[in-house]
Amino acid sequence: MKGEATFSNKFLPYLLVAPQIIVTAVFFVWPAVQAIQQSVLRSDPFGFHTTFVGLANFKALFADPYYLGAIRLTFVFSAAVVVAALSAGLLLAVMANRPLRGANVYKTLLIWPYALAPAIAGVLWLFLFQPSIGILARALQSIGVHWNYTLNGGQALLIVVLASVWKQVSYNFIFFLAGLQAIPKSLIEAAKVDGAGSTRAFWSIVFPLLAPTTFFLVVMNTVYAFFDTFGAIDALTKGGPGKATETMVYKLYVDGFKNFKINSSAAQSVVLMVLVILLTAFQFRFIERRVHYV
């Protein structure tokens, strides 16, 4: 961003940034400000009266056992998705990074699920596990498992986690593979000369060098689990049974668009904003550190 300007036009640069600034102002700044504003107001259902209530909406939110439940659920759900999707992606990337016959075919066959929407992943898994017609549901029932995720909250959570992980593995695979390919082979050879086995070489050399990729993916997968999995949940369980799969974003949607609790949902938006800002700050810390040790 330093140095002299290449061109010296006075008005042209404003014209050039205008489209992005206008779109950002209208569809980003304005809504974000409104969310913050609504979160400290209380309106009657018809919108005739609006009063300033300070942090009362937030106090009500954090006194609401359903919201606390949604927070707990979101963290359990996200942790499960992040850990499972990262482990599977890493395992497959390590295997595909070996000099195998047909390695490129494997890569293509592992990358394509990137193309699918979480909602589509939800539909595919619904078709397999729908209690009366799904073939895997029938298989489970035939070996004595009482499989019915429309009644059993734990099973509902499991199926939503599985569909979300299934869709995300290829994203992690792409990044881990790129990370592995950037590690000089000579480093690993040197470790082997020193007598380290493959497993030992992986955990003491390769894995630490992948740390930047892993941190980046932890952040991206957390964002995915928080926000993008909405489609999978909507296709599979709609937050049910009961509130068993109602994450924070799903609750925000239900409260805002089904129950019309505008002020409460605005407060929920602000809570999510704070979480995302913390997550972004966390990410930047690690990106900064990475510059030093690579």
Binding site: F28, A115, V123, I133, S269
Partner: protein, 283 residues
């Protein structure tokens, strides 16, 4: 030593084959479901091999979208909507990002850093977080059920601008200075020097944004209430409704297979660009 390597490779093949099988199986079963009739699926005895109703299922889903126990929108309409949405999002965001990045990198003007930071902070708040006020803004502007309402808010994001900023910073200034001496103005330089040099990044970003646009879910769900505005991803979930066992699963699966086919083909064809673009954009 040699034997050890062979056995290790055997293990790697096994892990990769199991991984591929787990990824492919749900899609394979969706395809199988789309080749049987509704009754076969409804009995819960779906075979693992294709049936004989493939052609009629696909024709019905494509042309009508409605069966005996499911009423959807024809796939040809939803597919057009999805295609339009994905292309407009991709082209729109790339255009807007290139212009802004060009201004920020090659011009010096008051408020330049303010604009840059304004664009930058959009990284922090995904659309889902500000969904209700965004909906209200779009409704107030009268953009519900319109292509503009569907695509403009999705274009708000700094990723494109940051990517092009990085690309433009690597372009040697001498190149532009030479063009200037030859009498080329800033727009001419953008068109005949910057854009050709940025082509690989543009292509990569196009693939990423096309898939991103095609897969939009929450936003179109809110913004489109008319049936012939449905995108295909929304349309499938709407077809599911609530009575999940008694319905024309064959049509739902035929629709699902068509909905997946487009982005999967795009990703496989442009795999190299996609991987390069992802690794560069998001870091």
């Amino acid at each position: 030593m040699k034997r050890k390597r062979v056995s290790r490779n055997w293990f790697a093949h096994l892990v990769l084959i199991v991984g591929v099988a787990v990824l492919v199986f749900p899609v394979y079963m969706a395809f199988i479901g789309s080749t049987h009739d509704a009754a076969t699926i409804g009995r819960g005895r779906l075979p693992l091999t294709p049936g004989t109703h493939m052609a009629e299922n696909y024709v019905q889903a494509w042309a009508y979208g409605t069966g005996e126990r499911v009423s959807g929108t024809p796939v040809r309409i939803m597919m057009t909507n999805s295609l339009l949405m994905a292309v407009v999002i991709a082209v729109g965001k790339i255009t807007v990002s290139i212009l802004a990045a060009y201004a920020v990198v090659f011009f010096r003007f008051p408020l330049r850093m303010f604009f840059f930071w304004l664009i930058f902070i959009t990284l922090m708040l995904p659309l889902e977080v500000r969904i209700i006020p965004s909906y209200k803004v779009v409704a107030d502007l009268g953009l519900l059920n319109s292509l503009a309402g569907l695509t403009l808010p999705v274009m708000v994001s700094a990723t494109g601008t940051l990517l092009f900023r990085q690309v433009f910073l690597t372009i040697p200034k001498e190149l532009l200075d030479a063009a200037k001496i030859d009498g080329a103005g800033p727009m001419r330089c953008l068109w005949s020097i910057i854009l050709p040099l940025g082509r690989p990044s543009i292509a990569a970003l196009f693939v990423i944004l096309f898939v991103y646009g095609w897969n939009q879910y929450l936003w179109p769900l809110l913004i489109t209430t008319e049936k012939n505005m449905d995108t295909i991803v929304i349309g499938i979930v709407k077809m599911l409704g609530t009575s999940e066992s008694l319905m024309d699963w064959n049509l739902v699966m035929a629709t699902t297979v068509m909905a997946m086919a487009v982005p999967i083909v795009v990703v496989i064809l442009f795999q190299k660009w996609l991987v390069k673009g992802l690794v560069e954009t998001e870091k």
